[in-house]
Symmetry: C2
Subunit: 336 residues, 2 copies
């Protein structure tokens, strides 16, 4: 059987095992509905470092170290690290990789980077190249604010459509071993979609069409219907983007499913002041490497489709009048 199915989907013939995972989150994320499910909730946003940027890189590094130590590995026993983040030149990942000394491939897919890294890692394992690969990402509210938006100290009021960049890091360890669950069984690689939206304070709406297109491609390519999965979860569309996605599902003939949600909506509770919801590549990474993989290990979820979404503009392209190109990658995780 060909590993490529249909237009955009690959099926793993020896589905890599997610043998361990870890998540670290900031104080706000710890106060949300899933605080008990993360490996570590930080007391503050600096994590004993001098800058938020160093704190974010340390969170990423610690997520990797905690994931691999659960399997009693040393970093030197990990063959490949695939990682990225939201910062210019993905410095959180670069500096984490410097400390870990694991052969390293850096990725950038904005908030889609967790799914992008996981599917690339799964290709590296199922393709027979490596037997122990870590995929990991991070985001940090305060590093993202000062890079993408305005100085925190300025106290600019946020629009209702805006999202709160999560302070969070997540890591998964993929192994080529028999036995055990959950496993990555297939993945759908997204195309870049741009419906002409230019409001960087409403990224959920920009990304929703990309998410729906990738989900539709996934079902078409594998000849599956949405009820195949116990849960389909988009990366971080937030409330506004999730509502738009649900409208688009109807247009595409994919009726709204009770088994659909969004990591940006799930991550915080309604009393937390995050406007449309969470965002940042740490958002889907923490939800996955916290509550979702926990539920898979308990058998409460047996088939999960993670569809991480990314808004691929930069402040420079926004200043230059460009609209927001978006992407979504889907990764299927199954207890088989």
């Amino acid at each position: 059987m060909s590993k490529k199915q249909g237009q955009q989907t690959i099926v793993f013939t020896s589905p890599p095992l997610i043998s361990s995972w870890a998540s670290l989150v900031g104080p706000k994320e710890g106060q949300g509905p899933w605080g008990e499910d993360f490996d570590q909730v930080l007391d503050d946003y600096l994590y004993d470092e001098q800058t938020w940027e160093k704190a974010e890189s340390k969170m990423l590094r610690e997520a990797v170290k905690q994931a691999i130590s659960k399997r009693y590995y040393q970093p030197s026993e990990i063959e490949l690290l695939i990682s990225g983040d939201l910062l210019n030149q993905i410095v959180s990942a670069n500096y984490a990789a410097r400390e870990l000394s694991i052969p390293f491939l850096g990725m950038y897919g904005a908030c889609s980077t967790m799914a992008e890294s996981m599917l690339t890692a799964a290709m590296a394992v199922d393709g027979g190249f490596f037997s122990r690969v870590v995929a990991a990402v991070s985001s940090h509210h305060y590093t993202a604010e000062r890079q993408f938006r305005t100085p925190i100290e300025q106290g600019v009021q946020k629009s209702a459509t805006s999202q709160w960049t999560a302070t969070a890091a997540g890591a998964v360890l993929l192994e080529a071993v028999p036995g055990g669950n959950p496993r990555i069984t297939s993945a759908t690689i997204g195309q870049v979609i741009d419906m002409g939206q230019s409001d960087a304070a409403n990224m959920g709406s920009a990304m929703a069409p990309a998410a729906v297109k990738t989900i539709k491609a996934h079902f078409d390519d594998l000849n599956r219907s949405p009820d195949y999965y116990d849960l389909i979860v988009t990366g971080d569309l937030g409330k506004v983007g999730m509502a738009l996605a649900q409208e688009l599902f109807i247009k595409e003939g994919l009726l709204p499913q009770p088994n659909y949600s969004d990591c940006g909506v799930l991550l915080y509770n309604d009393r937390q002041d995050v406007n449309s919801g969470g965002s940042g590549c740490g958002s889907s990474a923490a939800m996955l490497c916290g509550p979702l993989l926990k539920k898979m290990s308990e058998g409460k979820i047996n088939k999960l489709l993670l569809v991480a979404t990314g808004a691929l503009m930069s402040p420079t392209t926004s200043f230059q009048g460009e609209t927001i190109p978006s992407i979504a990658h889907a990764v299927a995780l199954e207890n088989i």
Copy 2:
């Protein structure tokens, strides 16, 4: 035979064919020693666009289109695009991918991105996931200057160790087909190395140890000696970095080889005012997708080791007093 050899190297069991390639360069690169070997030399730096950033993205897009049109493919027949560049949020690649509508994975490895994208593409092909994958990168002198350094209009004098970011884009098409040359036979994935250098105007020196470490790992892992290759070419160490690399080769017991050079040194001639030499991920991409692959197709080079190097800092980490982490990935191209 295991596809993984030694610590950091993977060997492709069905080496992907580089079935076509294309390169576009700016006016300065066209006036260098290899002007005749590029597919297109631009008349100016704007390429009929309103901004340098849009021009760079167009160069990348055109390199991809020209590479695939040489094999009479349409973009819709290409299964995967793996691409990156130097700009914040890799917007050159993102916007090129938007126009091309090819499933897309974005990478960031600074000036190592061409080798990183090629080896990932080779895994995707040799792993049996895709049969037609493009790897492509770009850089642009004026987009890099205003992002990483100072406004062009300011006319800041460059130090002698500084390098000139190449205005260049290169693309290779990898195919899983029998017959034909050259092919990607193996690759060595680098670790992040940081020897404590913090001068962003001397990136060649920061990257040289990473290049030498990856080259040594490649030889150790495959039990090869440097004379296996007709040419070993580092990405863009420039004159200063290349001299340091040659010193380090001696320390590592790899005697200086007549078959070693550097893309940053090769790209310009001595009369061009580029201080230590060229840099930017377009530098190694254009040298590869211009003169080097041409020489391979003519049989003048039969075994080439491309070792693209990247300096993984950002302006923010430099401002925060960090040193420069560096990486190098090696890709072996052979007529077999």
